[in-house]
């Protein structure tokens, strides 16, 4: 039976056959537009909605609206922008940001380095699961912030205790999601690997690990979010330096514009780090690309 007949027989994905003439720029642009229409629409609406948010903020603050909430002292977007242009040239502000990023990087990386392998091993070996799971279940509901006093006692420096809090915040979501991923691995795939000659170690590397990756990345995304929450709280309570400390300090120093600036910086940093993780996920899991 000829190969082409076979390939056509079941509905194969259409293979684009390049025509002799390369399409003109105009056709390409039109095609690109057609394919991305939905995305463009979403982007346009997104920009409009952000602008509307700024406008509402501007109006509420310029007219100092008091309606249950008081906007009397809330800085206007322009005031925040002004303090942003000042801050960006201020090495101290940049240091706050850099320090926070460093804490996140160390705490989160440690959580991933410990949490993912631990989850994989717990998912594979019952005994390890039976030993560690109860402890994890007891510690998990304790919010990282509740660890602040304990962390200060445990660690010799403030810096270490803040990193520890960040670590704790991201550790449990990473562990739990990795475990969840392991529990959902399709046993048929394990069998398929076994009757292709795979041994325990290869099955772990070639089946369990990649099969759990989507859930591991869910864990990393959630963990990153919680890491920022925990970090900011820890910095506000016990910090010197860091963007959380900056925000709290601005309040004590009655620099209202800096409060909003700190908040926005935290938002942007949080967004940036979750974009990074999503990008890493795409790189590591090309089969899930749409």
């Amino acid at each position: 039976m000829p190969a082409t007949a076979l390939a056509e027989a079941d509905s194969a994905p259409a293979v684009v056959t390049p025509s002799a003439m390369p399409p003109s720029f105009g056709t390409l642009a039109l095609r690109w537009y057609r394919l991305n229409r939905a995305g463009l629409r979403a982007a346009a609406i997104g920009v409009i909605s952000l602008l509307a948010f700024l406008l509402v903020w501007h109006l509420l603050t310029t007219y100092r609206v008091v309606f249950f909430v008081r906007f009397t002292n809330v800085p206007s977007p322009l005031a925040v922008y002004a303090s942003f242009t000042k801050a960006i040239h201020d090495p101290k502000f940049l240091m706050h940001i850099l320090l926070s990023c460093r804490r996140i990087f160390i705490g989160f990386s440690l959580a991933a380095i410990v949490g993912v392998p631990l989850g994989l091993i717990m998912g594979r070996f019952k005994l390890v699961h039976e030993i560690i799971f109860p402890v994890a279940e007891v510690l998990r509901p304790i919010p990282a912030i509740a660890w602040v006093p304990m962390a200060i006692m445990l660690w010799p420096t403030n810096e270490q205790s803040i990193v520890f809090i960040t670590f704790l915040g991201s550790f449990f979501p990473i562990l739990v999601n990795t475990l969840h991923g392991m529990s959902l691995v399709d046993p048929v795939l394990v069998r398929a690997a076994q009757c292709l000659g795979a041994r325990e170690r290869s099955i772990f590397r070639e089946v369990y690990f990649p099969a759990s990756l989507p859930h591991i990345f869910t864990g990393l995304t959630v963990g990153m979010g919680v890491a920022w929450v925990s970090l900011i709280a820890a910095e506000m309570i016990s910090g010197q330096y860091g963007i959380g400390y900056f925000t709290w300090e601005a309040y004590s120093l009655v620099q209202y514009a800096d409060i909003a600036l700190g908040m926005i910086a935290i938002g942007v940093l949080g967004l940036g780090s979750s974009v990074l993780i999503r990008g890493a996920g795409r790189l590591v899991m090309p089969w899930r690309a749409k």
Binding site: M1, P2, A3, T4, A5, L6, A7, A9, D10, S11, A12, P13, V15, D186, V188, L189, R191, A192, A193, Q194, C195, L196, G197, A198, R199, S202, E206, V207, P210, A211, L213, M285, P286, W287
Partner: protein
Amino acid sequence: MSEVSVNAPKGHIEVRDFSLAYETIEGAVQAVTDTQIHVKPGEFVSIVGPSGCGKSTLLNAVAGFLKPTTGIVTVDGERVNGPSAERGMVFQQYSLFPWKTVRENVEFGLKMRGMPRSQRERAARTLLGLAGLEAFEKHYPEKLSGGMKQRVGIVRALATGPKVLLLDEPFGALDAQTRVIMQQILTNMWQRLKISVLFVTHDIDEAIFLSDRVYCMTARPGSIKAEIPIPLERPRQQSMMMSSEFLALRRGLMSLIREESLKAMGGEITDMGMQGLSIELHGHSLADVI
């Protein structure tokens, strides 16, 4: 190609005094009892039987996933006590690794055997070519149609040059046309590789069309009710399915299965009821309906 084509037929399967019971909370469920089957080297043998009679159980025991409660399974005189690359398996659920491309899936068994990358790439390409899939080597399984997935599954199972190919209702989820093509491909590969095949199916036509011999099982607890040689000459053509010889075999097998299916349905169905049923099912095999 040296790893797939060997001249002497191989893979003598023997199942002797076989029984298998599942341990459950309500006690042991006897799935298969007192079963003897064999597949001669290079032979194509099918197992048909009513739903739940233990076909998959038997096949999984030959694959090495299940241990017989009593009896013994041997392949070429060696006792089966675990899955191995000597016995390739194709599952009803498409069991391709979603994180591997078509070619990587096919390479998997060779990789497990430690074959160097360039060599196994070449081997995989050759095999994919035989199945008319070379154009899709870089695709991820998600993008393939059901028929193509199953074709890759067969190629993957054959890549390591197993002595025996086990298939558990591999075409059950495919539409009629695709099924016919898949049957052709399977026949071609089987003849080329001269290995023995044990094929589980619901479809009586499929069993007759493909096999040298068909085992018909009783309702649960399953055992062999009858063994029917299929003397149709090879190569087999689609047109043979209308021959009187084929139809006679079909009638015989159908009435055997009908008896067992009715038992399996647990009803004490009277002759009247049976007549009514067979009129309703006119033109279809009962096993198809169940």
